[in-house]
């Protein structure tokens, strides 16, 4: 009887973690917050006011967009394959939720040292890369399902774009794994914080490559050629409307949360901030308090949100500064510049690890 009760309590607690706090509800509200930040920065950079009248300075605008889209009529073109046409938004949303489960926001299982995400296990970095490729595949299929010439051309372009930016993304994400020798995102982040600052210099180039590649993965200007507003109307999204469109927009925002989250975890030191200060009171006592008591539950998410907000602002600035490239320029730029750069950064890290650091006596 007691075991059954414990099992039920355990289930409820796990359900709370997955569904509410570091799980779906938290990620969705974070997604809406980041879209607000993105639109506001984009507008202010253009000397515009941006959304103003919904909630404090328009902070509820993304929520209102989402709710309105939910309440609109849902159309399916007759020629489109109905079942798969309806499945695409749901698959996109589920995949992006799963991706967000790996981010170490709050210490989920104290057994393993360092903050662990909900689903963190050894080798989850490989799974993350596989799912991001899967998302690219689903987007291409979505274009073909919509049976609209704009949709097909948009899907073909997305395919070219994502394939040519998959390799730099993978190489940029794998570099921290080389440094720390583990394939679990959370343990990589934990070991990076323990290492000496010399290693951090090696991560600067992969961080830049990752930002550019994630801008391409998210199909934002200057890489938003697939749903370029002026050429082919909204690319592969042209036939979706109502609930399906709402789900797709939510999936895109959650992917933004995930990209910013991975950038903070692997390159900016994850949810640790005060621990880096050399004073013993911070790095030792505070780290212990945060790791064990409820203080961590508040402090870690706040730091995580602060750092990924920084990354979102950077991505949004990229959006305002550049014009949109043609698909052939992007593919040429992808293969001629990004892939060699990524290979170079990997070689740099290897040379540093094997030769330079032992000579300089860096541990």
């Amino acid at each position: 009887m007691q075991a059954a009760l414990d099992m039920i309590v355990e289930l409820l607690v796990q359900g709370f973690w997955v569904l509410v706090f570091p799980g779906i509800f938290f990620v969705t509200s974070l997604a809406l917050l980041w879209e607000w930040i993105d639109r506001k920065v984009y507008a202010r950079m253009q000397n515009r006011v941006g959304p103003l009248h919904t909630g404090w300075h328009g902070i509820l605008q993304p929520l209102m967009d989402f709710l309105k889209l939910l309440s609109k009529e849902d159309l399916t073109p007759k020629k489109a394959d109905r079942r798969s046409f309806a499945a695409v938004p749901v698959v996109l949303l589920v995949l992006s939720f799963v991706l967000c489960m790996f981010l170490p926001i709050v210490d989920m299982n104290p057994a393993v040292p360092g903050v662990q995400g909900i689903l963190s296990f050894e080798g989850d970095l490989v799974l993350i890369l596989f799912i991001s490729t899967l998302i690219a595949l689903v987007i291409i299929l979505a274009g073909y399902f919509s049976s609209n010439p704009f949709g097909q051309t948009g899907a073909a372009r997305t395919g070219m774009l994502l394939v040519s930016f998959e390799i730099p993304l993978i190489l940029a994400l794998v570099t921290p794994a080389f440094l720390t020798g583990s394939l679990c995102v959370s343990t990589i982040m934990y070991r990076l914080t323990q290492m000496s600052p010399a290693y951090v210099w090696l991560l600067v180039l992969p961080f830049v490559i990752y930002l550019i590649a994630s801008q391409a993965e998210l199909e934002r200007i200057p890489f938003d050629v697939s749903h370029a507003e002026t050429e082919i109307v909204h690319g592969w999204q042209v036939e979706f409307s109502g609930k399906k469109l709402a789900l797709i927009h939510m999936a895109e925002d959650i992917l933004l949360v995930f990209s910013a989250g991975i950038a903070t975890t692997l390159f900016l030191g994850g949810p640790y901030l005060l621990e880096f200060i050399p004073l013993s009171i911070f790095s030792v006592e505070f780290a212990a308090i945060a790791a064990t008591t409820w203080v961590g539950w508040v402090y870690y998410p706040l730091v995580f949100m602060f750092k990924s907000a920084l990354v979102v602002v950077i991505l949004s600035n990229m959006r305002t500064l550049f014009a949109r490239w043609r698909i052939d320029q992007i593919v040429r730029y992808g293969w001629k510049v990004m892939v060699p750069l990524a290979l170079l950064s990997v070689m740099l890290v290897q040379v540093a690890l094997v030769y330079a650091f032992p000579l300089l006596g860096v541990m």
């Binding site: 253009q46 000397n47 399916t76 507003e229 050429e231 109307v233 949109r324 052939d328 593919v331």
Partner: protein, 410 residues
Amino acid sequence: MTSTSNRTVVIPPRVSIPIGPQHPALKEPAMFKLTVEGELIVDAEVNIGYNHRGVEKLAESNTHIQNLYLLARICGICSATHNGNYAQAVESAAEVEIPERARYIRTLIWELDRIHSHILWLGVAFHEVGFDTAFMYTWRDREVAMDMLESISGNRVHHDMNTVGGVRRDVPDELVPKLLRGFDKLKERMRYYRDVVLHEKTFWDRVAGVGILETDVAKKMGAVGPTARGSNVPVDVRFNDPTQAYVPMMDTGDFEMILNDRCDVAGRTIVRVEETIQAIEMCSWLVKNMPDGPIRERVRPRIQPNEVLARHEAPRGELIHYLVTNGTDKPERIKVRAPTHANWVSMAHTLKGNYLADAPIILAAIDPCYSCTDRVVVVDADEQKMELVPLDVLRVRANKWYKENPRRDE
């Protein structure tokens, strides 16, 4: 990218992308049928008949004064040119000399209209290429020109400044210092945008080497305005056939025609930006030495029978009004040839051989103003062996495709 050189390789599906009649790239309804091979445009076909409003038939049942307002509404952006040119046509038909000050004010409104039209085009070109920040900045600075036009003529877009025999409103003297300050601010902003156009790499990549129109082809196809001047064709009515206040302005000799030999979209962009700066200098010259005196001449509404060809350099090219009067106060025949109308043949030629992603920027490069034109042109695919689908079949196929995607699935 499949290589289109050897034919034996599988030929990519020939997809026909209908841009329009409703498309965010086009501010007005026009149907462009681009037959695309992979990403390369093989065949371009323009159908702009959506805008035909029968203006010429309507004009024959209006008096000259009413026609001034009707013809101004042909095109929203270059409304001052249609208005001014028709007034000029009626005056030369009646063989009446209008006061000197009226000439200066009419030319000032023309040049201000060119400034606001070119800045508007620059913003739309930035938008076509996805450079939305610059699009916002240019349109914000255009507001300075719009405010000036509004303070002179009372309306931002349709000014209706001219009447038969002169101008309807005067430029008060206390407005002159404000105008001069506005011109300096505009000139300084335009110099900034010239640097942006020349040095912003992502914009320059999208514009350089795109939409090539060689000089002799431009001449043969009858291109006009900045599109022709961007391919080194000396076509400018202000210098070749000056009327109104352009005559004294050309005598001063410190303005000369702006030409560019790049023959591509970048060339046309540079010509337009340089022309805007020149237009600003022209405006300040006009405002500085504008003579005083009356601004209108009494003209009897019944115009003597006469046959007149009035030409004027609109922002987009050479505008022609062929007016025939028959002694009553209504025109016997008025033929309006808008500048964009002449650029269709050359534009359809430049579309071929470019990427689909370049189509909007090439379409925007001639600064199309469909409301001025309501005609259609078809360009055949070049001598590739592919079977060319005739126009009617394409239209039937497009309608069939529209029918297959109704709004509701039964």
